[in-house]
């Protein structure tokens, strides 16, 4: 692999590995990190307070007298976190449409034919039929699937959540559908986050035990080349992109 990387270096004409250690690449800017942190915190609160409704009967006696108070705070917390999550979602739409960094995110996140090819090639790589994984751009097919699921999931959960919150304004049938969808989608979202997202940040061999990208927002050059070669090449060939995506001295803290 070392040879491979050197070969790739020669191909893209970027400086040698020793110098590259100094250089970091921005994956998430400050706004995106803050959005992610609030969203993730809300998500955990929502999962915990939401699945409290699905706890087995035998477990509930454990709460004893505290049950009633817990139930009251459960509702308050769930609705607070839900509201906050919707607000972050609304801000994110604003960010995507009206901020330059957001628009860049949106364009880079749009699905393309290349994603299907990448997926096919990556699976072939997993099955050892191809020797190298495809070169990924800023967002690979895995990210796009997850982002799409996140947008769809958040929308579905928000809409059904608001219906449940304002139940008197709807017919009971609509409320019943909303309750069913809210519960099922919650299971889907939680499992997806656990299997897809937690794997990415916790269990991929080089990320374990926890990737700190969500705090620092940057990755080093070696990882950048290994994971997002196409984006790396684009950055290296475009001084404008270099200004945005390269962080020369990360010890000062990542750029915003």
């Amino acid at each position: 692999m070392v040879n491979n990387e050197l070969a790739l270096d020669a191909e893209t004409g970027v400086p040698s590995e020793a110098a590259a250690d100094e250089r970091y690449f921005v994956r998430l800017n400050k706004s995106e990190r803050v959005q992610h942190m609030i969203f993730a915190a809300c998500f955990f609160v929502l999962v915990a307070t939401g699945f409290m409704l699905k706890l087995p009967e035998s477990f509930l006696s454990f709460f004893g007298q505290a049950g009633e108070m817990l139930f009251r705070y459960r509702r308050l917390l769930h609705r607070t976190a839900g509201t906050l999550m919707i607000l972050v979602g609304v801000y994110h739409v604003y960010y995507l449409l009206l901020k330059p960094a957001g628009r860049r995110w949106l364009v880079d996140m749009l699905p393309r034919l290349k994603d299907l090819k990448d997926m096919r090639d990556n699976l072939l790589y997993y099955f050892n039929i191809r020797n190298e994984p495809p070169e990924f751009d800023r967002f690979c097919y895995k990210h796009k699937i997850e982002y799409g699921a996140l947008i769809a999931g958040t929308t579905i959960m928000s809409v059904t959540g608001i219906i449940l919150w304002t139940q008197y304004e709807w017919s009971k049938f609509v409320v019943d559908i909303a309750a069913l969808v809210h519960g099922m989608e919650a299971i889907l979202a939680s499992l997806a986050i656990m299997i897809w997202h937690f794997y990415e940040i916790h269990f991929r061999p080089h990320k374990s035990p926890l990737d700190n990208l969500w705090i620092t927002g940057v990755i080093n050059e070696a990882e950048m080349k290994e994971e997002y070669m196409l984006h790396y090449k684009k950055i290296m060939n475009d001084p404008e992109l270099q200004k945005i995506f390269i962080k020369e001295n990360p010890k000062r803290g990542p750029e915003s």
Binding site: F71, K172, D176, M184, L188, Y199, H206
Partner: protein
């Protein structure tokens, strides 16, 4: 000799021996300050071990705790006012207690002799009653009698919901006794009054009581009903499980403000609180202690409260597990009356959404799991190659 008569003989001898031994002490017990036992029943019935196994093998306890009895709603009533007969010892002339018996207590508002006959009359006309002689209900042995619900709750502690605690009893009783100096009377009156100021059972107790019959699939099927395990699929039940005091149990909707538990009617009856016409009033429970859905509107209140159960499954043409050996014709007949085509459509829509999500969750998670597992294997192999 039959085993029963042998038992009776044995009891007779034991009782005679006790009688002979304790005759000098008898006046002491009859002068107990907890119970005016003028019939001297406690002579024998005060012994906690008193009892026998009846012909059906059921354990019968004949012990009476004098203090508990004295504090109970029936504390002032003589044993033989309800237990008619009992003139022979051993008691071979026992009649089953009939709660409609006039018990020689005067009802203070009318000064007439009191009995539970009016309650029983209502009850017999209710959904739990035995029907009329012209139109008796099938399987009368399944139908609950007084004691199925009034299950020895006369030995209630004074505490309960909504602040009716022992401490409150102590304080209030002291106030009562400012004028009503006889403590036992004051206690009885307090107890009588406060029993009616609160619901005697916590929500989970009510659910346990009702489901003791209504969750019995065999019994329910015989009467064309479905098991109400469907209640346990609702948000109402989750609240009860968490011990929320305001949580709605069976009584909250089926016997709301202004109704009597003795007079529960089928949904089709216009005076039933769950009849479509009365739903808004029931859900909003205006003026009641429980705060339910004060803002309930017609479209919210006319929907389904219990989850869809056996009937909806049958009507939607689904196989229902667990009913294979039962006679389900009656359930089907009722299902056709109870469930409108709209309800069945709704059930089908909900089922379809559930199926869609099951497939979606299964498919997505399988794809994700497999993908990440492959990724993990490949990454490990890569690490190995590197080293």
């Amino acid at each position: 000799m039959e085993p029963t008569s042998l038992n009776n003989m044995r009891i007779f001898f034991i009782l005679t021996a006790i009688l002979v031994l304790l005759t000098p002490a008898a006046p002491v017990f009859s002068q107990s300050d907890t119970l005016a036992d003028t019939e001297n029943c406690l002579l024998c019935h005060r012994y906690p071990n008193m009892g026998r196994y009846d012909e059906a093998g059921k354990k019968r306890v004949y012990y009476v705790n004098a203090q508990n009895y004295a504090r109970s709603v029936h504390g002032k009533i003589k044993c033989k006012n309800c237990h008619i007969g009992l003139d022979r010892i051993p008691h071979t002339d026992v009649n089953k207690v009939d709660c409609a018996t006039k018990c020689h207590v005067k009802e203070p508002s009318t000064n007439l002799e009191f009995s539970h006959a009016n309650m029983i009359q209502k009850y017999e006309a209710s959904v739990h009653g035995r029907g009329t002689p012209q139109n008796p209900k099938p399987f009368p042995e399944d139908l609950p009698t007084c004691k199925d619900c009034h299950d020895n709750r006369m030995y209630n502690p004074f505490d309960g919901q909504w602040g009716l605690s022992q401490a409150l009893f102590n304080e209030t009783l002291a106030r009562c006794m400012g004028c009503h100096t006889k403590e036992k009377w004051a206690q009885n009156f307090y107890s009588h009054f406060t029993h009616r100021m609160r619901r005697r059972r916590a929500p989970e107790e009510v659910v346990r009581l009702c489901t003791s019959c209504h969750e019995d699939v065999n019994k329910m099927t015989r009467h064309g009903l479905e098991s109400i395990a469907t209640f346990k699929d609702t948000f109402h039940w989750i609240e009860i499980e968490y011990g929320v005091k305001n949580a709605p149990d069976c009584i909250s909707c089926h016997v709301p403000l202004g109704y009597s538990t003795h007079d529960i009617r089928p949904r089709s009856d216009p005076i039933s609180p769950i009849n479509a016409e009365n739903r808004v009033k029931t859900c909003s429970n205006q003026g009641g202690v429980q705060v339910c859905h004060p803002s309930a509107k017609a479209k919210f209140a006319t929907g389904r409260v219990h989850a869809y159960g056996t009937k909806a499954q049958m009507m939607a043409g689904k196989q229902v597990k667990g009913l294979e050996d039962l006679d389900i014709d009656r359930v089907l007949q009722r299902a056709e009356v109870d469930l409108s085509p709209e309800e069945i459509f709704r059930f089908k829509v909900l089922q379809l959404i559930k199926l869609f999500y099951k497939i979606m969750i299964g498919g997505t998670i399988m794809f994700m799991g497999l993908h990440q597992w492959l990724d993990f294997l490949r990454a490990k192999r890569k690490q190995k190659n590197r080293s």
